[in-house]
Point group: C2
Chain length 147, copies 2
DNA sequence: TAATTCACGACAAGTTGAGTCAAGATTCTA
DNA sequence: TAGAATCTTGACTCAACTTGTCGTGAATTA
């Protein structure tokens, strides 16, 4: 598995925040309930996303979390790399092409191709795109999101 | 990282065997030396590849390992899945598209696309292709492979 | 029989994943 | 100012996986 639940849960949280832009801070418990994420685990993911500037938090009654950028200016790629670290599929993709280490690996060229496409797709998809896709299927899943 | 050293080392070993087809069994120690794999770890990988029918082994002096199939009939995909298990990039790719679990994830559709292309590329590349690519760069790396 | 080579399973150290929990900081409201 | 609501942070846990090492035993050949 390339992604752990970190990348999954973290993106769920951002989608939830994007869907509630303009309604004031969204509470951790709300996000956790709607997106089915363990609340105390979500804490860590929100902290990471805050450190990297994707959201801001306010404490106290009425506090919560809000997006710090427009949802169409946050790509899936940057969020996943923030939460998971580099997404290289195999170590040797990092090696200089033409280096001995890259050659030893033997499959470097195959994966470089796949990796390039992956970066294109993820870099070309924003949180806003994910929200839009969700909205288009809203009727069918309204019950799931318990909105 | 999607692949661990298992997938890397295992493919290296098969490339090495494919390069020495027709020369009789190749010894574990030879493979390990040429491809820079810890010998006792290589054991486990060869065992897995043997179980799945990609090579056969003979014991005793002059023994070693040989491919059990033609190298152009072994795809990178099947070998990697033998060594690493499923290559799905994110859990929800396994969920029924349209299911609640798939929808909750929010990025299912993006990854399904990427995964499909990955399977195409890996399924369309054989050990023979990897050997051919290596041969085309042989001059530059002859020293590395110590052949 | 001795030497060579693979076969298989036990063991182990380190890392990561997936959380839980508690103490503390901040802010709002009464 | 007290108390309640929220987030913040770090410590801690437990299980699984990675990346090996080792030792014993089996098969084969000379």
């Amino acid at each position: 598995m390339l992604l752990s639940t970190k990348g999954d849960y973290g993106v769920r949280a951002l989608i939830d925040l994007a869907k509630h832009v303009g309604e004031g801070p969204v509470q951790r418990a709300e996000i956790a309930r709607r997106r089915q994420i363990p609340e105390s685990y979500l804490d860590h993911l929100l902290a990471q996303l805050r450190r990297d500037g994707y959201l801001r938090s306010t404490r106290g009654p009425g506090g919560g979390h809000e997006l710090a950028k427009a949802s169409d200016e946050i790509t899936l790629l940057e969020v996943l790399e923030s939460l998971e670290g580099s997404l290289v599929p195999i170590e040797c993709v990092n090696e200089e092409p033409g280096s001995a280490a890259g050659a030893l690996c033997g499959q470097q060229w195959v994966w470089q191709d796949i990796y390039t496409l992956m970066l294109e797709r993820l870099g070309g998809t924003t949180i806003a795109d994910l929200v839009e896709h969700e909205n288009q299927h809203e009727q069918r899943f309204a019950a799931t999101y318990k909105i």
